[in-house]
Amino acid sequence: MISPRYHREIPQRYRLEAGRCADCGEIHFPPRAVCRKCGARESTTVVLPNRGKVVTCTVVDIPPAEFDDQKPYVNAIVELENGVRLTCMVAEAPPDAVDIGTEVELIFRRLRCGREWEVLQYGYKARVV
């Protein structure tokens, strides 16, 4: 990911900032310019809760090369306490420790190292509570 895009996404990746539609209250994560439910263009910023449950998950045994040192790892769709769903890696968890319904918290971790000259990228992962 190039630096400008990474920089734009800091509010959502670092602080879980989502957009709440000013008209219908639908929460979008990541934030959207237009509400997918009612089409309104106004929204306010809300911070998502950092706890939730795994909706579904998969074990990645053959990852992209830059994540090879972390294999096997679990990617999961997590439903947060307010119903918002997001996809993330589950940190520190052997594959058999994560299943549908597993309670997790979102934590701040380094997502990508890249090559020595590239910017480090941080954001959220899940961790089994």
Binding site: I10, Y14, R15, D69, A91, F108, R109, R110, L111, L120
Partner: protein
């Protein structure tokens, strides 16, 4: 009154035992455990570094302080393992905790003393009245060369302190610093592992500065060792802080609560700040705590701290240090450990 309004420690879940390191090098594990008074140490995960540890610790500190992070006027991070050579760790941390952009940020370095430096300056800012709250963090993912004695102790973790003048949970009563040019441990630009001067790191370096700062602090404050419930000294291994504490006149029971090194290793800039956090986790109103850090090069910062009635209200608002030390430990073998610490050369992507 000015002092600590919130604190938070973060302890990684990964561990390696002394036996697993000694076994790799054909060393006598029992002798190392006896000599270092250490059983195991923390290891950062593949996705953890000084920045992620600082963020986790700072969030716990904010939870205890119960403040809006936008009221934090500065963020200072002391570490000798900042992920970037050029780009402050604090820039990432303030955006992750929501303290930016109106926040003064700097990264500090002074070997293992950088954490108390950050605390010292943060405290000075709130005491002088230039800001309402100030954040000082000590965190490290320290490295020891394979087979070196440091490999048994160099570990990962960190602790954050929010200083302020309202709702103070632990007043900083007095401070004292003791510094000299003492080349006991160093790493020059471009070198991956630090170098040390063996036994020279003991008497002329660690003990001279730790005892100099502690005795100076006691004399300046007019207090005696018996006036304190807890005392914390920088923990490069298990033996040094106990020896320094006893030489300074403290009893074993005053030293035990903050002596986390046997289960955690030496977290460098996070060491004495984390020992202090372990004491604050269980302290009672009125308890006095003495903390003396040590950073090679060399110097020590000493603090006299007195807990207020508020401490009981906020202790349970974030995980305690010793609970994290005991919780969900994941043990690595030596092969995994060197991979986690980037000690082996892998194929380029």
């Amino acid at each position: 009154m000015h002092g600590i309004v919130g604190w938070g420690s973060y302890v990684p879940r990964f561990r390696i035992k002394v036996e697993d390191i000694a076994g790799q090098w054909g060393a006598d594990a029992a002798a190392f455990k006896r000599g270092l008074l250490l059983q195991e140490k923390t290891v950062p995960g593949l996705d953890e570094d000084t920045i992620t540890i600082s963020v986790a610790a700072a969030k716990y500190a904010i939870a205890r302080a119960g403040i809006d992070p936008r009221e934090i006027g500065c963020c200072y991070i002391g570490s000798e393992s900042h992920p970037y050579a050029v780009k402050p760790s604090g820039t990432v941390v303030i955006d992750a905790i929501g303290a930016g952009p109106e926040c003064h940020v700097a990264d500090f370095e002074f070997a293992c003393k950088a954490g108390t430096e950050a605390m010292f300056v943060a405290y000075s800012h709130v005491k002088s009245g230039v800001m309402r709250y100030a954040l000082g963090i000590g965190a490290d993912t320290s490295q020891g060369a394979p087979g070196d004695a440091l490999e048994y102790t160099a570990s990962a973790g960190g602790t954050a302190y929010i200083m302020g003048g309202e709702n103070v949970a632990a007043e900083i009563v007095d401070t004292y610093s003791f510094t000299s040019d003492t080349p006991d441990f160093w790493r020059r630009e471009g070198e991956f592992y630090p170098r040390h001067a063996g036994r020279f790191t003991g008497e002329p370096a660690y003990f001279h500065h730790v005892l100099g700062a502690t005795r100076g602090m006691l004399e300046k404050s007019g207090l005696e060792p018996a006036d304190f419930r807890f005392a914390v000294f920088h923990m490069p291994n298990g033996k040094f802080p106990l020896k320094a504490g006893k030489e300074a006149g403290f009893r074993q029971e005053q030293l035990e609560q903050g002596w986390v090194v046997n289960l955690m290793g030496n977290t460098y800039s996070g060491s004495s700040p984390t020992g202090l956090a372990a004491c604050l986790d269980v302290a009672e109103p009125g308890d006095r705590i003495l903390v003396t850090s040590f950073g090679s090069g060399a110097g020590s910062d000493s603090f006299v701290i007195r807990c207020t009635d508020r401490i009981k209200e906020i202790q349970k608002k974030a995980p305690a240090t010793r609970d994290q030390l005991a919780d969900r430990r994941i043990y690595l073998d030596y092969g995994k450990y060197v991979a986690y610490r980037g000690k082996i050369r892998m194929n380029q992507l």
